[in-house]
Symmetry: C2
Subunit: 139 residues, 2 copies
């Protein structure tokens, strides 16, 4: 029950994503009503089944991408781990273009000796700075 | 050291935001190199000083907004708490329009008996579903 184990779950998560492996993706999510996923620019998706369904939709029309990721920081207490990750997602094929750079907050919980994903909150930095926050005075 | 205390820190966070109170905002962030903030559509901002600076920029041109928030789920282990929050941010003034609806993953750590904010990862749902995830095959 150490940080390396949550790191292993994270590796499996990106492996599942890059292989479009829905079985692997399903297996690493916590069976927990509090599990949630927010894809970049997407709505809140709660509960493992809905989360897995969302990945199924994503995988269904995709070719396996090349994913690189960097764990920027981690924090752990007991059976809860929070990771900040920078993802670089490059589609396969000759017209792949620039990779998408995504920021993700990944949260893991320990379940029966294994780390499972509880949260994947991802967002795409669209703008350069904090000034683009929805500004109370400008709406 | 219970969930209610992290909830109190959260209340102060939204109080600081709605009052544009930079002192209150500064005080509730953890002095921790792992602290980070991602404003909706924004880049990664790491470290308390930079995070506070980003709020300073946001506050500098804003009128106090009306903020409502709903804590959707919480998870806590020892000195670490993860909250999922739906925010509704309505600007002040007659031309306020519809509120912005933001999804936030807020993480708190216990420091010297007080809960401090470690993470505020916020995103604006721009689209209706998971299909809008940057799709490996379509980039």
């Amino acid at each position: 029950m150490n940080a390396n184990e949550a790191t292993a779950a994270e590796r499996r998560f990106y492996e599942a994503f890059s292989r479009l492996d829905l079985g692997l993706m399903r297996g690493l999510w916590a069976e927990d009503p509090g599990a949630y996923c927010i894809h970049p620019g997407g709505p809140l998706i709660q509960g493992r089944e809905r989360v897995v369904q969302s990945w199924s939709e994503i995988f269904s029309s995709a070719s396996p991408p090349t994913i690189e990721y960097r764990v920027v920081s981690t924090r752990q207490a007991e059976d809860l781990a929070v990771h900040l990750v920078e993802e670089s997602i490059r589609p396969s094929g000759p017209r792949s273009g620039e990779p998408s750079r995504v920021l993700a907050t990944n949260v893991y919980v320990m379940r029966e000796g294994d780390w499972r994903m509880l949260v994947h909150h991802a967002s795409l930095p669209l703008v350069g700075g904090a000034k683009e926050r929805p500004r109370p005075s400008l709406h």
